[in-house]
Symmetry: C2
Subunit: 295 residues, 2 copies
């Protein structure tokens, strides 16, 4: 009953957190965001960090998702194995304070030689399904630092695959021999599409990446096109892995709109139409569906 | 005639340099090595930096190879296009001081949509051929920060492919989510071979890399095996690209012995026997063969 009176939903990641106050009518009536990600909270500091959220948004029940439930977070919430739907997540919440403060568990996939984990995306994916934004059966691409390709069957996550695309792009931009080229702006343009096509043609990504520098040195790619071409290569290689996983199933891209747009553009080059779903909307839908299961 | 009286050969890379004094009889009678790589020489400082070498090893003709001839080096030595053998390199030396101070040009490959460049490895590869250490036709793998697969035909470099394997391993170890796992020692063991096999099975490298962390979290890989497994994944993916390039041609691994041993071990997992050639021996052979062409 307590949760029906309103609650706070927190999307708590590695480098920042966002909290929403959900009223009795199921709409957000206040929210906050700051840079207090899991890595910036000192050991033993989560009580205080959560106190700040309640001081700001009200003394309400609180449901958290994301890296706050990892071994670097507040309390570790063991992964729920696939297949995982909203009922499985609700049944395996990690309660920090009975009936009042809970962490949503992540989801793991282990089959044969494959192993994968997620924390946070599951609330978005299953929330979008609960809200009718994605079908019960399909493939969701969730771009980010660690891009995920997720299979939904009958409204449950049954398998998924993570590709380190965002992290690799950031590493290359900050520290690699391509850093000076990647400091220039990247966009969705002819160079981006050429990079996507090149990756879909199947060369080893780590060879294609070196060739960016060679292409510029030899005048085959314009210096100002190198960042877009590289972005296309990385997203194209990700898409290659994702399409191998997805087969002919329809695609949805979910997450931050600027990232889902990149993946949708790359998928279009591969002739695969992709519907985009806003990740924040999906997260709130997931939190509200989970809270309903706690009534 | 001047070069037959003895000369200095310098392998001058990005982060260090090594210089050898070659006597009249063609053997090395003195050498020096320091950390004065191209990136640490200030603008306008190469005259002095070369002066140090002559002060230490003698006032002799001097032949340099490597990044000293790049656009970040002393004087840019334009790439020689494939096919490139020792005569083509000798004919296109970049003379800084007539008959006395020269930079060996790098080699470039541009065909269709492919583009690649090398600087420094060409002296080793062609020197090894000149010395009879590699056959006139074959594939040479040259591991390093930027690993190269090079096709030799009739004693000339006709095509090659660079893979960013070493640089990627360093980036992951220094800055990525795998940094804590990669801080542990890596070796050639069962975990390394499992990583090689996993890569040869064909999954996208950037997905396999994330799965290392998931495998440890889910207890599928022991924490102390993660660095060796990751090393196997990276070298296995490199080998996958190299074997696609090499076809059924016999393999030679050339370079620093600790790296050629890794590649030979990975190639053995793929059932491909690989002969190892020491890169320093090959470099000196190349420098001496080039000097002979200057008589």
């Amino acid at each position: 009953m307590r949760w029906a009176q309103g609650f706070i939903a927190v999307d708590w990641g590695t480098t920042n957190r966002r909290a929403y106050r959900v009223g009795r009518d199921g709409t957000v009536d206040d929210e906050m965001e700051d840079g207090k990600g899991v890595l910036s909270v000192p050991s033993g500091g989560f009580d205080a960090a959560v106190g700040e959220i309640r001081a700001r948004l009200g003394d309400l029940p609180l449901l958290m998702a994301g890296m706050v439930g990892s071994n670097r977070g507040w309390v570790e919430a063991p992964y729920v194995p696939c297949p995982a739907g909203l009922p499985e997540l609700a049944a395996r919440l990690q309660w920090v304070e009975a009936e009042r403060t809970a962490i949503v568990p992540g989801v793991c996939f282990a089959e044969g030689d494959a192993a994968d984990v997620m924390r946070g995306e599951e609330v978005q994916i299953l929330g979008a399904y609960g809200e009718g934004l994605v079908p019960a059966d399909g493939i969701v691409c969730h771009p980010g630092t660690h891009n995920k390709w997720i299979r939904l069957e009958d409204g449950r996550i049954t398998a998924f695959r993570t590709v380190m695309t965002g992290e690799l792009f950031n590493l290359l931009k900050a520290h690699s021999i391509l850093a000076d080229l990647l400091a220039l702006p990247a966009g969705v343009n002819d160079a981006f599409e050429a990079g996507v096509r090149r990756a879909l043609d199947g060369g080893e990504l780590t060879a294609e990446l070196f060739s960016v520098r060679a292409r510029v040195l030899l005048g085959k790619t314009k210096r100002e096109d190198a960042a877009s071409f590289t972005s296309g290569l990385l997203i194209g290689a990700d898409l290659r892995a994702g399409l191998a996983f997805a087969g002919e199933t329809g695609l949805v891209a979910m997450g931050r709109p600027e990232l889902t747009a990149l993946f949708a553009a790359a998928a279009a080059v591969a002739g695969r139409p992709t519907r985009e779903v806003d990740g924040e909307t999906a997260f709130l839908a997931g939190a509200i569906h989970l809270a309903e299961l706690l009534q």
